[in-house]
């Protein structure tokens, strides 16, 4: 059998394994096997590519594969469970940069060998291959710097707040124009020198554009951004596939591109906002012009003017001791303070005390889809105790206590009753309908998205300030004393 045929057959098998793996990832019981099957497909694709006749020099490939594997293994082992969103963002950025470099390397070959020699080995026409190089570099570049910026925001290396400057949209539009103009010149020009200038121009602009596009997006919207960037990294791989006329890149890039887009759309829907609103509105940049006055002004909602009422862990214990129905609403704050194990301990103590404990999970709680589920699973919270937003809301009025652990926007009643609020219309977990609400918070400032939260000012809300892990430990210790004393 000819090696080319063998390689393409193996690519088809690899692709089938990817699809099978993705499908199995969708079900909790088979997810882990699905991931393994998908990785098997990847291994197959890599191994047969080594047989490709374009590959004649193995030294650097082996160095690259070895180094990349070592870094990948160390990163995946060392990273904390709570830092997963950043990690995913970073990996995604690497994938984008790799596609960019593939495009660049191929362009380097073309300059080195000339078009005719290059096209002898890869099918295509100069215009087609140039267009593919442009797309691989441009999408890869935007994915790279966009992901790195998202990483910095999530890791809180830079402020999570949206960064806005004057005529931002105009600057982005201008950058986009320069990008496509350079791309067009690159594709149509026959002059090598002009092509090089155009290439350098769109390489630089795409890197800047990734940065400026993510800049105005608030930290709270990062899950959507990461999902979108993930989709882009698939498309970048796809474009790189067209450059080197490689089928597996094209067909494997596509499902990543589309599944990322679907997930992005699902998340936008969960927040009741359009994608363009997420990307361009600078959401949360205007902190709460709405909170008190705005609510009263539009009639329906009662103006909420209250004060923050702090509570001590001892008093929280007294409230919880009498409670029979307790719902715990976790958010990113639980991840930050690594409180999931203490939360589990407290929930067990509550159950021993005769209470029924549920965990209410908002679809966009945390910094990536399923963030809270992963953390609670790590702490051995039974899956059956996790309740989705739509299932818990009707039960809310029957809840004696709602404990909000570092969640903010997803429980902000302004989303339901304040038309002036930027998050108006977003479905929320109606914590405010519980008889008593206890909110755990690090300090008095506004949350990650920069919005004030009406929930904190309600008469039935008490604020438990401090690190969630420490304060919950104190509450849990009270229960322990009760049990022993």
């Amino acid at each position: 059998m000819k090696p080319e045929l063998l390689i393409n057959l193996a690519y088809i098998v690899a692709f089938i394994l990817f699809i099978l793996g993705l499908k199995m990832l969708g079900r909790q019981s088979s997810a882990r096997r699905g991931n393994a099957i998908s990785s098997l497909g990847m291994l197959l694709a890599v191994v047969v590519t080594l047989l490709d006749h374009h590959v004649v020099n193995y030294t650097w490939i082996m160095v690259g594969l070895g180094l990349g594997t070592a870094i990948g293994v160390v990163c995946a082992r060392v990273v904390k469970m709570t830092s997963m969103p950043e990690m995913v963002a970073l990996l995604n950025g690497f994938g984008g940069l790799a596609s960019l470099l593939v495009g660049w390397a191929e362009y380097g070959k073309i300059r080195h060998l000339g078009w005719s020699a290059y096209l002898d080995s890869f099918a295509g026409t100069p215009a087609f291959t140039s267009a593919a190089i442009f797309l691989a570099v441009f999408i890869g570049g935007v994915t790279f710097t966009g992901s790195i910026y998202a990483f910095c925001k999530l890791a809180e290396l830079v402020s999570g707040r949206p960064v806005l400057f004057r005529s931002q949209q105009l600057v982005n539009a201008l950058l986009g124009f320069v990008l496509f103009a350079a791309g067009l010149v690159f594709v149509v020009t026959g002059q090598p020198d002009l092509a090089l200038i155009a290439f350098s121009a769109f390489l630089a602009v795409s890197l800047i554009l990734g940065w400026t596009l993510v800049m105005p997006i608030g930290g709270g919207d990062m899950p959507v951004v990461i999902s979108m960037l993930n989709s882009l990294s698939g498309l970048a791989a796809c474009a790189a596939g067209f450059v080197i006329a490689n089928n597996v890149l094209v067909v494997a890039g596509c499902p990543v591109g589309t599944s990322g887009l679907i997930l992005t759309a699902v998340m936008c829907k969960a927040m009741n906002r359009s994608l363009s609103h997420v990307l361009f509105s600078g959401f949360g940049a205007v902190p709460a012009a709405s909170s008190a006055g705005g609510a009263g002004a539009d009639g329906g909602a009662s103006a909420i003017t209250g004060e923050l009422k702090p509570i001590s862990p001892e008093d929280v214990f007294s409230v919880l001791e009498a409670a029979r129905q307790v719902v715990i609403i976790p958010g990113y704050g639980m991840a930050v303070s690594q409180a999931q194990h203490v939360v589990r301990e407290l929930s067990k103590r509550l159950e021993n005390n005769g209470a029924e404990v549920r965990f209410a999970i908002h679809p966009v709680a945390g910094r990536m889809p399923g963030h809270m589920n992963v953390l609670l699973a790590e702490a051995n919270v039974p899956y059956e105790q996790l309740v989705e937003m739509d299932a818990i809301n009707p039960l809310m009025p029957h809840m004696d206590v709602a404990i909000v652990i570092g969640a903010n926007d997803v429980v902000n009643p302004a989303a339901a009753n304040d038309r002036a609020s930027p998050i108006y219309g977003m479905p929320i977990i109606k914590a405010h309908e519980a008889r008593t609400v206890i909110c755990l918070k690090r300090g008095k400032g506004a949350g990650f998205s920069g919005l004030e939260n009406q929930l904190f000012l309600l008469p039935n809300t008490r604020m438990l300030y401090g690190d969630a892990k420490a304060t919950l430990q104190a509450v849990s210790a009270e229960f322990k004393n009760l049990a022993s004393g």
Partner: protein, 73 residues
Amino acid sequence: MSGSNAISGITVVGAIIAAGANDDSWLTTVLGTSAVVLATVNVVGGYLVTDRMLGMFRKKSIADAAVKKGAGK
């Protein structure tokens, strides 16, 4: 999501082809090799991270099974 993120590292195939060409140009070699490193980190890290996260759920179901077993006694 991180599962499909790992698949986007399929660009490692392109990187291998870019790095393996014998055209005596150091620029291509440097770019290609860097691409191989980055794409491999994406692939290996992506799959392992996904596996770790899914492992959290598995550990829990074993714990559940143990509890149920205990209750059955």
